[in-house]
Amino acid sequence: MNTQIVLILAQDGITNGAIYALLALSILMVFSITRVLFIPQGEFVVYGALTMAAMQAGKPVRVVWLLAAFTVAAVLCDVWVRYRRNGRLRLTLAGSCTLLYPFVLALLLNRLPLAQLPMPTQALLTLAIMVPFGPHMYRLFYQPIAEASVLVLMIVSIALHMALVGLGLFIFGPEGARTTPFIDYPLHVGAINLNSQALLIMLTSVLLIVAMHQLFERTVYGKALRAVAFNRLGARLMGISPVLTGKAAFSVAALIGTLSGIAIAPLTTLYFDSGFLISLKGFVGAIIGGLISYPIAAAGAVAVGLIEAFSAFWASAYKEIIVFTLIIPVLLWRSVKHYPIEEEE
């Protein structure tokens, strides 16, 4: 084991860790705002990557029809709720725009020569398809039971995760996919080959983390989200809509998940069911942060990536065991320290 190997392993570990960190932050944010343990976070990674791969392979982007189904169901739910409240069947302007969106998008995807488009455009289209899933998911599955216990919300998450994996198999097929790299430009620093795609991932993560920080510190919406995370009832009394914050949190989660997927798709082959393990490692990071602290969660997730890379080198047969055993001492230490986790029932 020489310096060169250490550096390559570190690069690999930090690259994966950067993705885990993003997912950890997103899981943490969704949990603190809505009390939902968002297990399907990993599905956004996979759906994003596979949608992008489908575009590049010139295959029809069928996932847009799933979006259409989600949209129609969500809008119908809203209409029904209004009908129950004031006895009138009416579609609002916002509702009709939402309803139209996936169909316009489908038409656009049908007309554009997807495989020939430049990669940033493909990435933007992928985001345009995937991000609306976030708020619709919240509307359909979590909003009606927003006041339920954490356990119930988690069970719904597990069910949703299972359903999405099954739908993923149906939509994308069992074959794994890999996309072409955004930049393929080998950098040589001293004796090591720096992978340009890996650098891009780290850069994306850092930018997203900074953006999240700015959002929460500087904008009114971000402050509203933080207020809800801090004290749900108090925030509500101040006129912050729980529905709006829930949808916002899920949109950000969808955005982060999809971006992570687009970023790692050129580095590794992703399958319809790869998402769970990736988000589970992000989850370990979030647990290390006690589901409370953002910086510790991010650091923990990067640590998970590094430990993974080095244990793959030393004892590849026990890699997963080492990574997931890590959670035990952390939980022990947390329980000894007796850090109260917010639970307002």
């Binding site: 390559i8 198999l169 580095l267 590794t268 082959t269 993974e308 890699k319």
Partner: protein, 384 residues
């Protein structure tokens, strides 16, 4: 009115008779595939193949009962028990996965039901014992493929080999079989590493392998997972030869690996290089027929995994008429005779090769069951 009622009753009678009569001489075959879950890549072509199988063997009509185990070994056991206890099947084709098949062997033996497993690992039929004698395997045994690879290594002067395999029965058995053969031929294994199918990076393992700088690297993993170690090693600048097992023998391998898998050597059935095979090869026609039929129905070429199920059916087709002399389908006597008939299979040409079963060998392939294949200009080609 009365007349009308009579007519209805009569039609009902005729109808029910028409439905019950053929069931009299009916053979039931259960099929368990992993057509969803992580092994879906393997299971889907297998499930699709069931629709191609003819519905008659001699005078017997055949009822195929196809179940999905979602790649979950526990579900395989549930499916298997259901097939035996509720549907009372005479034979089972499946399950798709190695761990899934290992889990149901004892139930096949307990109930005395022949099972034809289209799985990769030889562990389902080796070492042969009282339980495994009910299991037949329609894929090449690992050692048959490994021998072809090792012979080629010796021929091309490979002295040291690094091994990386999946952390499951497939990878485990390959390491065992390959280590023994390598020792026999004076090839040194420098290092053996493991990885998971879902791993997004194998850089750590690759670096360890690179450390010893072996002449060649053998990767043992079924399906698309076989690509990642190879591309990683390529990116890290490994210049030696890559060897793959028959687990990598699918079109996706080239699609996922691109130019990085150019020059990979593997041994597999003739399915990948059908047009290149000489007409004298007995399996060429059978395999061609299968590929054509599959393509006609689904519009795509089948992966080799589907052909393994097709061969299982060919074996049954051959054995059922012999077993019928011993008893009616649905009886233990018939199932036992079916097992004996399968074991007596002699020179049966399948899509994968020629089957010659014996009491000790329930896979039954010889050298006609494999060809050396390489990737050249993005296509599978025979090694001349």
């Amino acid at each position: 009115m009365l007349w009308k009622n009579n007519l209805t009753a009569f039609m009902l009678l005729v109808g029910s008779a028409a439905f019950t009569l053929p069931a009299f001489a009916q053979l039931k075959i259960g099929v368990i595939t992993s057509s969803s879950g992580p092994s879906a890549l393997v299971g889907i072509p297998q499930k699709n193949t069931v629709a191609l199988l003819p519905k008659k063997i001699g005078d017997l009509s055949v009822d195929y009962i196809s179940l999905d185990d979602a790649s979950d070994p526990t579900a395989s056991v549930t499916d298997f028990k259901k097939l035996i206890e509720e549907d009372k099947v005479d034979a089972v084709i499946g399950p798709s996965g190695s761990p899934n098949a290992m889990g149901v062997i004892q139930f096949a033996a307990e109930s005395g039901t022949p099972m034809l497993a289209p799985v990769g690992t030889a562990a389902v039929v080796l070492p042969m014992n009282e339980q495994r004698k009910w299991v037949f395997k329609t894929t090449q045994n690992d050692d048959l493929i490994a021998r072809a690879l090792v012979e080629y290594m010796v021929k091309t002067n490979v002295k040291t080999v690094g091994f990386i395999g999946l952390n499951d029965p497939f990878g485990e058995n390959w390491l065992r079989v390959f280590s023994a053969l390598a020792k026999e031929h004076g090839i040194q294994i420098t290092d053996s590493e493991r990885y998971q199918r879902a791993d997004s990076s194998v850089t750590g393992q690759a670096l360890k392998l690179l450390g010893a700088n072996p002449d060649a690297i053998l990767i043992a993993a079924p399906g698309g997972a076989s690509v990642l170690p190879e591309t990683t090693l390529y990116d890290l600048g490994y210049k030696g030869k890559f060897y793959q097992t028959h687990g990598a023998a699918l079109p996706d391998f080239i699609k996922l690996g691109g130019k990085k898998v150019e020059g990979t050597i593997l041994a597999a059935s003739l399915m990948l290089v059908l047009p290149e095979m000489p007409d004298s090869n007995p399996s060429k026609k059978v395999a061609n027929d299968y590929v054509d039929a599959y393509q006609k129905l689904y519009g795509v070429k089948p992966a080799t995994f589907g052909a393994n199920v097709y061969d299982a059916d060919l074996l049954l087709r051959h054995a059922v008429p012999i077993a019928e002399k011993a008893g009616k389908p649905g009886t233990p006597a018939f199932r036992s005779a079916l097992r004996n008939a399968l074991e007596g299979t002699h020179d049966l040409v399948g899509t994968q090769g020629v089957y010659n079963m014996t009491a000790a060998d329930h896979s039954g392939f010889d050298d006609r069951g494999r060809v050396l294949i390489t990737v050249k200009d993005g296509n599978w080609t025979r090694v001349k």
